[in-house]
Symmetry: C2
Subunit: 392 residues, 2 copies
């Protein structure tokens, strides 16, 4: 067994209707809580009123701030400056991946006196000392898995823009409270994009050369749950709590495995495209899942037919099609998996890049910067180009 | 999906030869370390000298104390009193489950002014506030999984004896450093008993009615690894690092799942027998694994043939025999699993209770106090009796 490291995981409380426990959970850490939410969807569903009602029992004091869009260093700095003197005992984020990342970053910056920019990988030169306020993550989408990870992605748009990580072992949330009922109001298109994000995390981590037996077990479990629930969550089962629970579970595990096994060419593209275009991360991943799978399977079948990569694709072909795994049918089973991913991409209406204004002349600069990362096989520049061009 | 909770897990560093990283790992927490080891086996193998050599680089100051046998409240109190004024930055245990439990308890009591007895479940009345010194767990056996859990078992022998838990969410080790090379010197008989302990944790957690998809995935992964490595670790592969790594992995996962899914009748017996007799915990579990499996499978086949319990035993029959799982052959596959467990029990020379002086007259008091706990099926008192009597 090769050396591997698994980061600390949060205490996970997974329960439909679990939001009713938010008072007890907050109380473990103190009385003064800073809550970060995103936009107005929580208010629209009445869930925000419910949370306020629950927290208003007893002696809890809470402050509330809103994040619009993706978290920027400016948002983190402004929020930290505003609340640094308030003796915040615990930070609580309720929202999608952006809101969770924002809360994670704020909880880590309430203890510091400088801008978060100083600690961002590839931007600042400082090393964070790990001191932070306790942080509770409550996801309302099933996608990024940020509720399980130690990093926050911060973004600055514009000419000197970036999309980079702010991370430390200690930034893993103290508690992840996953209440699948909170995701029921998530529209089908957002559910699909977030679900494809979770899918790509699970898939790329499972196939990563840095995978280990523990990430394999968790990724496979998450993929099994996602297989049964992603399409229903976007179609016939949008208000089915069990379906939503399956997706919430898959997304949580996707966070654990991506942080510990690494990701492949899909996320190689995503970090480059995210810097150039304002396309939701889940859409980028969703658009490329099929073409990247096809290209990886073809490259593995040609260059490493006896390797573990093709075997893993074949095992997923068996899992997703319900057929038994047979080593002699590896190539066929792997192709079956590719076909299922294409079918889902259509079924879920995942958009192509052209719909976001990406055009032929953008290809070169995107392909040039994209890396295979922890892909199951090293792709050539030409293969990487083909993965992208097919999806414009 | 039913509600479930997964406790925080430690940061895991899993690496053959990983003990060489102990200096870096300790340094993350400070300069003054209290090391707890057990007996002389670490010295005998030269590993202790190596650890001292590694720690003696730079400015680390360390204190060292020895635990003989199982940890008692007296050991914890005496050690805490001795080192409370030493400004210990981090506690480090290197040893079997007893040594890890001792270090876990000491790290939690260095912050308190009273006896640990006050916090022991069912003995004291106080609730621990969770403050502790950082704790690093380095196992040298593959068995209890204490390196993954939040509880320490403390034992007092005698008329008013007990074997009870001292636990808190925060007591999960900060870091589990698993170096399978450290287990190579473990004698076959101890390896077998510890391995049967890990086996029973994985098995009972997998079968527990409180199991959830995440504990199932981890338990199944651990059982797959244990299937390939337990017998070799005690026979032909005692000095094979990959074999030892497989067992170390299985034991670590066994700690995660037992803490989150619960255990069945085997551990119902173990906690009762542990209070009456001085029999190693792994031997108690190992002795009962086969008879408890036989009784559970028979009860499930008779009373819940369509339930998930029999299906899970059948899946293990398929896993352990290498046969494909077929729903139509559930009963046969479950029996296959029972047969394999009996065969292993013989092969590993797991002792019977009679060899430790247990006799007919002891049966009543043991059976009377034993509970099914999170067993896959509620057993009758007569069935519980038969599980035990067969193994005297």
């Amino acid at each position: 067994m090769k050396k591997f490291i698994i980061a600390r995981t949060p205490k996970l409380v997974f329960a439909a209707g679990g939001i009713t426990e938010v008072h007890n959970i907050v109380s473990q850490f103190g009385k003064t809580v800073l809550i970060i939410t995103g936009g107005s969807s929580l208010e629209a569903t009445g869930k925000w009123d419910e949370i306020v009602r629950i927290l208003n029992h007893g002696d809890i004091v809470f402050y509330h701030t809103l994040l619009q869009g993706e978290p920027t260093p400016e948002f983190v700095d402004a929020t930290t400056d505003r609340f640094r003197e308030k003796d915040i005992d615990v930070v609580l984020s309720i929202g999608g991946g952006s809101v969770l990342d924002a809360g994670k970053a704020v909880s880590a910056m309430l203890t510091q006196e400088v801008s978060v920019t100083e600690f961002i990988e590839g931007i600042g030169a400082k090393i964070h000392d790990g001191r932070k306020r306790p942080f509770i993550a409550i996801p309302t989408t099933s996608g990024t898995g940020s509720e399980a990870t130690k990093n926050a992605v911060l973004k600055r748009m514009g000419a000197n823009g970036f999309k980079k990580s702010f991370r430390h072992d200690n930034f893993v949330p103290d508690i992840a409270l996953i209440d699948p009922e909170l995701t029921i109001s998530c529209p089908a298109q957002v559910t699909a994009a977030c679900g494809m994000d979770a899918f790509s995390h699970l898939l790329e981590s499972y196939l990563s050369p840095r995978a280990n037996p523990m990430t394999d077990a968790l990724a496979y479990s998450g993929l099994g749950m996602l297989k049964d629930n992603l399409v229903p969550a976007c179609t016939s089962g949008t208000d089915n709590v069990d379906v939503r629970a399956g997706m919430a579970y898959a997304a949580y595990l996707s966070g654990i495995v991506l942080a510990n096994a690494g990701l492949g060419v899909i996320h190689g593209f995503a970090s480059v495209i995210g810097g150039f275009f304002d396309i939701p991360h889940g859409v980028v991943c969703g658009a490329l899942l099929c073409s990247a799978t096809k290209k990886n399977v073809a490259a593995l079948a040609e260059r490493e037919p006896e390797g573990v990569g093709l075997e893993k694709y074949a095992r997923l072909g068996a899992l997703f099609s319900g057929k038994p795994y047979r080593a002699a049918e590896k190539a066929v089973l792997a192709d079956t998996f590719t076909e299922i991913v294409y079918a889902w991409t259509d079924l879920l209406g995942i958009k192509r890049f052209g719909e976001y204004g990406v055009e032929g002349p953008d290809v070169d600069k995107i392909v040039e910067k994209t890396r295979s990362r922890d892909n199951p096989i090293e792709l050539t520049k030409q293969e990487i180009r083909e993965v992208f061009v097919e999806r414009i």
